[in-house]
């Protein structure tokens, strides 16, 4: 397993919600990443942000990891959930809130 793949796997296994994005949650550098941050914050989700712009191996590695060609990417409970469009659709339908807060 490559270092990047191992790092990605460890990150999504050790954090319940992970957002691979351009920039950081406090300073997003892409509108799609910013929208993903805003949705997760709106859902009051604790999440780990990984800035792919600071590591080219992770930037490519995360595209390979889930065979998904674009950033941002959201993982919940170790599973790939989708990019910004999917997150937005799941938020609009309420499905995302259920996935993030199964008890409520």
């Amino acid at each position: 397993m490559s270092d990047a793949k191992k790092t990605i796997q460890d990150t999504v296994e050790q954090n319940r919600v992970v957002l691979f994005m351009k920039g950081t949650k406090n300073f997003p550098q892409c509108g799609f990443s910013q929208r993903a941050v805003a949705i997760l914050k709106e859902c009051k989700a604790e999440f780990k942000d990984v800035n792919v712009l600071s590591d080219p191996a992770i930037r490519q590695g995360v595209k390979d990891y889930s065979s998904w060609p674009t950033i941002p990417q959201v993982y919940i409970d170790g599973k790939f959930v989708g990019g910004s469009d999917i997150l937005n659709e799941m938020y609009q339908s309420g499905e995302l809130q259920k996935l993030l807060n199964p008890a409520s």
Partner: protein, 104 residues
């Protein structure tokens, strides 16, 4: 052929959509005038019947894999079944504002 035409052709061949909108949104982004880097697509096809959002988007991404490798930088997708399209259309499907990260 422009990338816009190429995207239209590839999606038509792969997914036989009953409705297809391909919009070049590159002008909204931090790229030179006339660029074909950022696109938004609405694809309505019965091949999406019974598929979740991730699998629907995978079908679209797969049809455009060569474009994504060759400079198509951002692809925002709404993938609907004909029944969904008739019932709801694609309301609120707007791309977020650019934050300038394309060049990073």
């Amino acid at each position: 052929m422009t990338r816009q035409q190429s995207i239209q052709e590839k999606l038509t061949l792969a997914l036989h959509p009953s409705h297809l909108d391909v919009e070049n949104e590159s002008r909204m982004h931090n790229v030179p005038a006339g660029s074909e880097t950022h696109f938004k697509v609405v694809v309505v096809s019965d091949v999406f019947e019974g598929l979740g959002l991730v699998d629907r988007h995978r079908r679209v991404n797969a049809a455009l894999a060569d474009e994504l490798k060759a400079g198509l930088h951002a692809l925002t997708i709404r993938a609907l079944t004909p029944a969904q399209w008739t019932a709801e259309g694609a309301p609120g499907f707007e791309s977020p504002p650019c934050l300038g990260g394309s060049k990073s």
